[in-house]
């Protein structure tokens, strides 16, 4: 993949983010609209880049940290577009796109080359496991952003942000969809473990934490029914949940050794 196109992509998202920022100070309706157009262009370009890498490699290249960060960033931008087009979540985009810039910025300095697929990863179960996992993570990242904004909005009561009931609804929806997709990731992973290791659950730290992520968000699918937790507590839980996700995705690879190394 050409690094120039990657920098172009980063610039597009960064400009869109700046557009949202300037809108906070200099309220012109044209700014969020322009940002939205830029993000749509960015998503199209990123989709093309991803498809091109897939085509060139002959398999979905998500086998190293660059590739997973790139995929994660794509999924987050796409999910943001879905929520923006559906609910018009306005300045919420600033927070989500800042997070996206962190992901893409983390990918930029890394090696973009695609290596031949080793037989251990040469199974559609692997691709499904990764696709569902990162789309799930992206929903959890979205829920994290919405949760943080819910807490801001409950203090600021700003007209730039959606009202609290909408933020709450979007948060619950992001958690639910993320949980569903992450469940499919766990199932693909378990079937793969069964054919690769001969047992469908492995007591290694990465697998254990993936189960913890799953249990946490399964819990959250129910926590929204607890009247006293709706809104504020739920927002805090979304933030904590994303902490668990980050530890599972990056923390284990960076801080501890596992059979799912980072690079």
């Amino acid at each position: 993949m050409s690094k120039t196109l990657l920098y172009v992509l980063f610039t597009i998202y960064a400009t869109a983010t700046v557009g949202y920022m300037v809108h906070l100070i200099w309220r012109r309706p044209i700014l969020p609209k322009a940002s939205l157009i830029l993000i749509t262009a960015g998503v199209l370009l990123q989709t093309w880049l991803l498809g091109h890498r897939w085509w060139m490699a002959g398999y979905l290249p998500v086998t190293n940290l660059f590739a997973t960060l790139f995929f994660f960033s794509w999924a987050l931008a796409l999910i943001y577009l879905y929520f923006e087009l559906r609910y018009r979540i306005r300045a919420t985009g600033l927070f989500v796109m800042l997070l996206n810039l962190v992901l893409l910025g983390g990918a930029l300095p890394r090696n973009t080359s695609v290596s031949a697929l080793i037989p251990a990863l040469d199974t559609p179960l692997f691709s499904l496991h990764i696709i569902f996992s990162f789309i799930g993570y992206a929903f959890f990242a979205m829920a994290f952003s919405i949760g943080a904004l819910y807490l801001c909005q409950s203090r600021l009561n700003s007209e730039l942000l959606p009202d609290l009931p909408t933020l709450r609804r979007i948060n619950e929806e992001a958690i639910f969809l993320g949980f569903g997709l992450f469940t499919l990731c766990m199932i693909a992973g378990s079937i793969w473990a069964h054919i690769a290791w001969g047992h469908w659950f492995s007591w290694n730290i990465k697998s254990v934490w993936s189960v913890l992520v799953w249990m946490f968000y399964a819990g959250m699918c129910h926590a929204k029914f607890v009247r006293r937790w709706q809104g504020g507590v739920y927002a805090w839980l979304s933030i904590a949940g994303f902490g668990v996700v980050l530890f599972t995705y990056l923390g284990i690879g960076l801080l501890l050794e596992s059979n799912h190394p980072l690079e």
Partner: protein
């Protein structure tokens, strides 16, 4: 009497509501999550104790680990218990739903997820109580080994081909295997990475492969190349025969003259040879292949020059059995279908404002 009956009915109702309680579910799930979070770190920093968890089923590993260090492993049975209680809680919820299915059939997706989870808990328990994990088993092409704990069953390796990268790094292990039951073949498969043989709860998969020294190739001035391995006999003259007794890949002779094996890698190979004539044994001794040929052999007219080792490749196969695997697959299927259904019902429930509040 009637009051007593009513009271016990009320009590039963309360117990049932407690069993179905969503708050209980959240409490159990949270407790299990926090416990396993801590436990996973204990597990990571004590590999000596927890490494066996991968090689054995839980009902074998846990009692042994517990007897060694209960302080470090107590969280495993405790979180297991919490997950089990959580499973029972889910089951109560599911039964409660089944009683009201006429009005709640639209929530089939959610309850398929719940059913799948219960099936997974049962499948894990079943597999970890009555299954087994064994191996890796060393097996040469053509050999047949008995399947542990399954009398009458045997595994035969018909053919083995390792696939290597040009750099020599192993890429894949292609095992043509057959499974036998009471001397009848019941399954055949090409077992390689991500392609195990699965049969009635058995999973047979490649773990690794290696080579074992079988013999040595020598050059003899009058005969050219000859291959010698334990058991080989070579006729030297009409009444003199050379026989290979033993072959050690790495050997050492101690001060008393005894020869011992010191390793399995090819470092200092030695062959025990015996020379016999019509009147019986003429000589027996060790030939260290890095040293000159023993004088007794040269005198008898044996001139051997070692050329290189003859290795035979073996495959290392893992044989596991999980009788709960079909149930686990059914559970996974229930959950997957449930997730797809729930994606639709989530939006419908939202539009209708149909949600329980506790």
């Amino acid at each position: 009497m009637e009051l007593m009956g009513q009271q016990s009915k009320l009590l039963l109702q309360r117990i049932w509501s407690f069993g179905c309680s969503l708050k209980l579910a959240i409490a159990l799930a949270s407790a299990a999550t926090i416990l396993i979070m801590g436990g996973s770190l204990v597990m990571h920093f004590n590999p000596a104790i927890f490494a066996g968890m991968e090689q054995e089923i839980m009902s074998k590993w846990l009692p042994r680990a517990w007897s060694q260090t209960p302080r470090l492993v107590f969280w495993v049975p405790l979180s297991g218990l919490l997950v089990l209680l959580f499973g029972i809680n889910t089951l109560c919820c599911l039964i409660d739903w089944l009683f009201k299915i006429k009005t709640r059939w639209r929530k089939t997706g959610e309850y398929l997820i719940h059913t799948g989870f219960i099936l997974l808990v049962i499948a894990y328990l079943w597999g970890n109580i009555s299954g087994f994990r064994s191996g890796p088993h060393r097996i040469f092409p053509g050999d047949r080994i008995a399947i542990p704990k399954m009398p009458g069953y045997a595994l035969q390796l018909d053919e083995f081909t390792p696939r290597l990268e040009p750099s020599g790094r192993p890429l894949d292990m292609i095992n043509r295997v057959s499974l036998w039951k009471n001397e009848e073949p019941v399954a055949k498969a090409l077992v390689r990475i991500n392609h195990p043989l699965i049969f009635d709860g058995l999973v047979i998969l490649p773990a690794s492969f290696g080579q074992e020294l079988q013999g040595f190739r020598f050059h003899m001035p009058d005969r050219g190349f000859v291959d010698l391995s334990p058991g080989s006999r070579l006729s030297i003259s009409p009444d003199t025969t050379l026989e290979v007794r033993k072959l050690l890949p790495d050997a050492r002779q101690n001060s008393q003259g005894r020869v011992m094996q010191t390793g399995n890698l090819l470092n200092n190979p030695a062959m025990q040879l015996s020379l016999s004539g019509s009147g019986g044994q003429l000589w027996q001794g060790w030939y260290f292949l890095h040293n000159p040929l023993p004088g007794a052999l040269r005198e008898a007219g044996v001139f051997l020059r070692p050329v290189g080792p003859i290795n035979k490749t073996f495959s290392l196969l893992t044989i596991n059995r999980d009788p709960g695997d079909k149930l686990a697959l059914t559970g996974s299927l229930c959950i997957s279908i449930g997730v797809i259904f729930a994606f639709f019902s989530f939006y419908r429930k939202r539009v209708q404002g149909d949600r329980p509040e506790v």
